[in-house]
């Protein structure tokens, strides 16, 4: 079966949410709200209610980054300090915990941030080639609903879009 992509542009959030409501109510058999991709210029505060809860893995990655930062930071510092053959001590310990706490803290934050950013870039699939179905209006003031489904659903989806006053519909067939 050929996969087809379809994008329906709407002029405001209410129309788009109404269309999603229709899909939730199974107006089109075989299409659920989980197939919906919703494009918009901002994040609407009620989007989670409309689309249902969707998970994000980023907080877990941040936790990994923080723990990595703490362990790597402290071990690196302690080994570098104990590696000195002659110690610039000033009467203090070889591995001074107060100084090392400061640097461990910084390393924790640095690695948390770096890990979070990498996770962000990966989960948002930003570096992949941008799919061609896009409209400049989305970054301006229109919102869109996108599907990537079998060909047979396309006409029904189009009908739902038109019922909900969509401004424009774009589609594309993947070969």
């Amino acid at each position: 079966m050929k996969k087809c992509r379809i994008l329906g542009l709407f002029g405001n959030f209410d129309d788009a949410f109404a269309a999603i409501g229709d899909f939730k109510n199974h107006k089109v058999d075989g299409i659920t709200v989980d197939d919906v991709t919703f494009l918009s210029p901002i994040e609407h505060p009620d989007i989670d209610d409309v689309l249902g809860p969707r998970p994000s893995v980023i907080p877990k990655v941040t936790l990994c980054g923080a723990s990595f930062g703490i362990t790597f930071g402290f071990l690196f510092l302690a080994s570098a300090q104990s590696n000195f053959l002659i110690q610039p001590q000033g009467g203090k310990a070889i591995v001074p915990l107060p100084s090392n706490i400061v640097l461990t803290y910084e390393m924790m934050i640095l690695f948390s941030v770096i890990f979070t950013v990498i996770a962000f870039l990966v989960t948002t699939r930003l570096f992949r080639k941008r799919k061609s179905l896009y409209s400049e209006h989305i970054s301006n003031d229109q919102v869109a609903i996108e599907f990537e489904v079998d060909e047979k659903y396309i006409d029904q989806i189009k009908a739902v879009f038109k019922d909900n006053h969509s401004v424009e519909i774009r589609e594309e067939v993947q070969s």
Partner: protein, 478 residues
């Protein structure tokens, strides 16, 4: 017009298309005033380069540094720039977590200010070194000599903290800008389109991207706040961890952080007024937002004043003769005019911010914000120099004034910061477009209005796609 209507944070009838248009026009080809500002900045930088080359070749003595004044304006200006960088974090991160949406039109340039102040501050630890060409020894890298930097030293903590802060702030700025760069990409032509296409990394605005974006932004904001506090505490520990009277003060970390927030807020007011005037952004950088920023600055000014007084009080309670001598020298010694200037600018001038009439008067706010920053710079200088002019040992009592080399380099740092900022405002959107749209949405909800009139399906809304009918001006490439 009634007072309530004029002084809104943002006009909730602002159409989203209008937001795009207004901000994108700031990136058009610059007018004469811009080139004059760039020329002034380059001139100041040239002064600094001349001074630095002279100092590099001949030695630190040309800066009038001597025994015991081993540190002077370089360290003071370094701390000043690090301090100024805290504003962006305050606005972006702290106010974000507190859901204060009045920050939305102004945090982008504040974040840029953070990144550029850090880039400026990072020059000074290099400039003040006697053997600057070896400065990379402060970084931990594997050498065949098996030697590492001394991690006990607050200067190494500085190196780590500032690089962490610079990296995190730059990433925070960039990631927060991605949706805006997508807007620029969709409206640009020529070399700009290529630049924005590359930088926006293929942002489409789908819900997966927005969801992860929101999480990332919140997490980074949560990390950036303790980072900012720790960075300036670490910078203050250059002094607090030493043994010198007047420096070995436990309240330095919070004192410095309060001073940093203070000078950052003052700088925000300055840049706010400049950008509002230059780009005609009265709709976005409204008087109401300025008032809120001024009130925040006033609050921080009172915190700073309190911590200053606490420092005096702790010297008075303790019986360290050397500390008392340093404090009295600040009040009545050779550096007293600058000390009292700092007290005036830092503790008395902010009372202007308590009056509504003055808060709304832009020229007054411009002058006040510059005076506040001057006060903060003097504060840093008055921390460094009076202690060194006295210290514990009576033989080391000496008064020293900086030479032209130091003043040139300090001036040049302002030129460098200005240049970076000027380049930023012309290449990147210095107001966050998508956040302004969110703010309009939120304000409309609060006022029980529907969102659709400001979106495409509203009256007169829905500009045709660019390239199809050339009604709205796109952003020109060269």
């Amino acid at each position: 017009m009634q007072n309530n209507e004029v002084y809104k944070d943002i006009n909730e009838d602002l159409k989203w298309t209008q937001i795009n248009k207004d901000i994108l026009q700031s990136m058009e080809n610059p007018r004469k005033g811009y080139w004059i500002s760039v020329a002034v900045c380059l001139f100041l930088i040239m002064f600094a380069v001349v001074g630095e080359i002279y100092q590099y070749q001949i030695g630190m003595g040309v800066a009038n540094l001597n025994w015991p004044h081993m540190w002077d304006l370089y360290i003071a200006t370094f701390i000043f720039w690090i301090g100024m960088s805290h504003a962006g974090t305050l606005l972006s991160a702290i106010l974000h977590i507190m859901n204060a949406d009045w920050r939305k039109p102004i945090y982008r340039f504040a974040e840029a200010m953070t990144t550029f102040s850090l880039m400026t501050a990072g020059l000074f630890p290099m400039i003040h070194l006697g053997r600057l060409w070896n400065m990379y020894w402060v970084l931990p890298y594997l050498t065949d000599r098996g030697i590492w930097p001394n991690f006990r030293s607050p200067l190494v903590w500085d190196a780590f903290a500032i690089s962490t802060y610079l990296t995190s702030s730059a990433l925070f700025l960039f990631i927060g800008m991605i949706p805006d760069l997508a807007i620029c990409r969709d409206n640009a032509r020529g070399w700009r389109k290529k630049l924005y296409t590359a930088l926006s990394l293929g942002w489409r605005g789908d819900d997966r991207q927005w969801r992860n974006f929101r999480r990332t932004y919140l997490i980074m904001a949560c990390f950036l706040i303790p980072l900012a506090v720790s960075v300036h505490s670490i910078v203050s520990s250059d002094f607090a961890m030493s043994i010198m009277p007047g420096w070995s003060v436990t309240s330095f970390p919070p004192y410095f952080v309060a001073g940093a927030l203070y000078s950052g807020c003052a700088a925000i007011i300055t840049l706010f007024i400049l950008l509002r005037y230059y780009f005609r952004w009265e709709e976005y950088m409204t008087i109401a937002i300025l008032e809120k920023t001024c009130k925040l600055t006033f609050a921080i000014a009172m915190v700073w004043t309190y911590l200053n007084l606490i420092e005096f009080a702790s010297v008075w309670y303790g019986h360290s003769a050397a500390d008392k001598e340093v404090l009295l020298a600040k009040f009545s010694g050779p550096y007293a005019p600058f000390f009292w200037g700092m007290i005036f600018c830092g503790s008395i001038v902010p009372f202007v911010l308590a009056f509504e009439k003055w808060r709304r008067h832009l020229p007054t706010m411009m002058v006040v914000s510059i005076l506040l920053n001057l006060g903060m710079w003097l504060e840093r200088w008055m921390i460094v120099t009076p202690t060194l002019s006295l210290s514990y040992h009576p033989i080391a009592h000496d008064v020293m004034w900086p030479s032209w080399v130091q003043w040139f380099i300090v001036a040049g740092s302002f030129g460098w910061f200005g240049l970076l900022f000027l380049v930023f405002v012309k290449v990147f959107p210095s107001v966050s477009m998508y956040e302004c749209k969110e703010m309009v949405l939120h304000r409309r909800e609060l006022a029980n209005k529907e969102i659709s009139p400001v979106m495409a399906n509203g009256p007169g809304g829905g500009a045709p796609a660019p390239g199809v009918a050339n009604k709205s001006p796109g952003v020109e490439g060269s």
